[in-house]
């Protein structure tokens, strides 16, 4: 895939759509009590998921993290499905069993994230090994944050993927904080990409807020993987322009840091460059924004009117061939015989 004006416009659309849905979720629906539990968004990091995932082929696969909504959207998960998932509705991808971005669909080759960070690192290796066994030229994009790189599974998974030459592109959004812990308290290395050397794979550090840069670095790694070269690690330097979650007042981040990264906002950067070189007009930008607002309005309204699951659905879906027993089954039978 070439970085054509069309691709750039598509990326602008997905980044802005991500921003709009996440803003509604974090700053409206959550505060209105329409979304309960944990809310984790990727504000400021949109270029990473979008710039990488946009170039995948149908049979490729992604293992996104909770801050990669753009990757879900590109794989065809709809705003309505995302919002229904967040609102615990039957129409969400997990049918109410799971929260927020913890969703997947193997029909669309999207693996659901788990809260134990880095668990998808070896899982992605296994998917890549499967492509190899089946002699398919497909690749896996596996996303995670800086925090995940401290877990053992991250290291085990990268090592196994490299030994097996699994076609996986490991994409780190280094947003400088793991919850409240700054990166210098997480690791003694300056760049996470240097760890790639330890596992014998290429590793690069790039500007994660420049979608064209993300696109090109991923493109190179995808080509390398499709040609049998094995996995790569791409570290995208970025910043989390919000708290760890919606309830986090984020007092531990100096205000100057937010101000500094505000200027590097990936959406503003792409938009102004497209305006500057006249790929789009002011008018087209306005129309795009209006279209996105309309799409999200519609998705919110559909999701809000979607049904909740039946309470007894709690018991279903644990196994392929049996339903769990309700807690009082025997007692009820015993006293009513």
């Amino acid at each position: 895939m070439e970085l054509t004006p069309k691709t750039l416009l598509d990326m602008l659309y997905y980044m802005k759509l991500t921003r709009e849905i996440e803003t509604r979720i974090e700053r409206k629906l959550y505060r209105q009590g329409k979304i309960v539990g944990g809310v984790y968004v990727g504000r400021g990091q949109e270029a990473i998921a979008v710039g990488s995932c946009i170039q995948l082929e149908k049979d490729d696969c992604i293992c996104p993290s909770h801050r990669d909504m753009g990757a879900f959207l590109i794989r065809g998960i709809t705003p309505r499905e995302i919002l229904a998932q967040y609102m615990g509705r039957k129409t969400g991808l997990s049918q109410g069993k799971e929260a927020n971005m913890h969703m997947g669909d193997m029909q669309r080759n999207v693996v659901a994230f788990v809260s134990m960070l880095a668990d998808t690192i070896p899982v992605a290796a296994g998917i890549g090994m499967t492509y190899k066994m089946r002699k398919q030229r497909n690749v896996v994009l596996c996303y995670f944050g800086d925090g995940a790189t401290s877990r053992g599974d991250w290291h085990e998974g990268l090592n196994l993927a490299s030994v097996q030459k699994a076609p996986v592109i490991y994409i780190c959004n280094n947003n400088l904080y793991a919850y409240s812990t700054p990166v210098e308290k997480q690791m003694a290395v300056k760049d996470i990409s240097i760890r790639a050397q330890a596992y014998g794979m290429p590793g690069v550090t790039i500007d994660g807020n420049d979608v064209a840069v993300v696109f090109k670095a991923t493109q190179e790694a995808i080509q390398f993987a499709r040609n049998g070269g094995g996995p790569s690690l791409i570290e995208c330097k970025t910043f989390r322009m919000t708290g760890h979650s919606a309830h986090d007042d984020v007092k531990y981040v100096p205000k100057e840091l937010f101000a500094e990264w505000e200027k590097k906002d990936p959406i503003l950067r792409l938009e102004s460059s497209l305006l500057r070189n006249k790929t789009v007009s002011e008018d087209e930008v306005k129309r795009l924004a209006a279209r996105i607002t309309r799409e999200v309005d519609e998705a919110v309204s559909l999701a809000e009117n979607d049904p909740f699951p039946e309470p007894s659905e709690t018991l279903q879906g644990v196994y392929s061939d049996q339903t769990a027993e309700a807690p009082l089954t025997f007692a009820n039978r015993f006293f009513h015989r």
Partner: protein, 324 residues
């Protein structure tokens, strides 16, 4: 047909499934040229190639994680834990990822995690454990623990064909100590079905794994005294065959729960609760447990002998219970 050991039965089961279905493959530590620490995968790499018999780094979590990834893509991985003790290193992948995929987002993970468990071979604290209950306690997993060559082969084949993640505990003490003639052809032992290994009328001994053989030995001795034990082999710990368990208790009215696992949190406690709840009015005596003590598995022969339940324990307890 020549008699087949318990170990060879597992090997045959895996081999036949790999012949039958090209999506079945094996991964683990030393499973390739070396054929596995106990030789369960011996000869497989020559037959099926290193694409389907994959030697891995010493990374149990990554072994299971990779197996999950492959299973999500429709493969049928069999992940070997060199010793079942090492499965703890993969606990998170098994209990949080594999076990919950179907429930969380409807994705089947048809994989088998297998390895040798159990004591009696002086393996010490890290080569003798019975870790099955960690997995029985995790909804989404099926847990298997065969006691005979016939069951071992039939259950491994059923486990490989199952749509859910199965943790399959082999008992290393039985690997080469028991053998039997096996039927020809393609057959399985379905998961979730207990088996009455000896029918009797006085006391039900409900057990699994290597302890089945101790119960049968005890039953043979006690038969001389006119005490008739029924030996129920669970074969699958999850799902539990409640019907077969309750039928046996309702017939004999007395029950001994026997396992090699430690006492607290062992399956005996769960069985006792089920029996107390659902067969209370049939009981003619206390529900008794014979288990290992709540300690790690010790190494020195006199200590390990003390740790493991013995045939003489079953005989003594059965005599007391029958007289109650």
């Amino acid at each position: 047909m020549a008699p087949v050991t318990y170990l060879e039965a597992i090997r045959q089961g895996i081999w036949e499934e790999m012949e039958r279905d090209s999506s079945v493959f094996v991964l683990g530590e030393d499973v390739g040229i070396y054929g596995g620490a106990f030789k369960v995968t011996e000869g497989m790499i020559e037959r099926f190639g290193d694409d389907r018999v994959i030697d891995t780094p010493i990374s149990e979590s990554a072994i299971v994680g990779a197996a999950i990834g492959a299973a999500l893509m429709g493969m049928r991985p069999i992940a070997e834990m060199q010793f079942a003790d090492f499965i703890s290193c993969a606990f998170d992948q098994i209990t949080n990822f594999a076990a919950k995929c179907r429930y969380r987002w409807g994705a089947g993970v048809p994989l088998v995690i297998r390895g040798p468990s159990g004591g009696g071979v002086h393996g010490g604290p890290f080569h003798s454990q019975n870790p099955e209950m960690h997995y029985v306690h995790t909804p989404g997993l099926k847990v298997v623990a065969p006691s005979t060559a016939f069951d071992a082969k039939g259950l491994i084949k059923a486990a490989i064909r199952d749509e859910d993640p199965v943790v399959y505990f082999e008992h290393k003490f039985l690997y080469r100590r028991i053998k039997e003639e096996l039927p020809e052809g393609d057959w399985i032992v379905p998961l979730g079905k207990a088996d009455v290994k000896r029918s009797g009328k006085d006391i039900s001994v409900i057990t699994y794994g290597a302890m089945v053989h101790l119960a049968l030995e005890a039953a043979a001795t006690l038969a001389n005294d006119g005490i008739d034990l029924e030996v129920v082999d669970l074969r699958t710990l999850m799902p539990l065959d409640k019907e077969r368990i309750l039928d046996s208790v309702k017939k004999t009215n007395k029950v001994i729960l026997l396992h090699e696992d430690v006492r607290t949190g062992g399956i005996a406690g769960e069985l006792a609760a089920i029996i107390a709840e659902e067969a209370f009015e049939y009981l003619d005596g206390p529900i008794l447990r014979i288990t290992a003590p709540d300690t790690p598995v010790p190494y020195s022969p006199p200590l390990e002998e003390f740790f493991l339940p013995k045939t003489s324990d079953i005989i003594r307890v059965a005599r007391q219970l029958v007289a109650y």
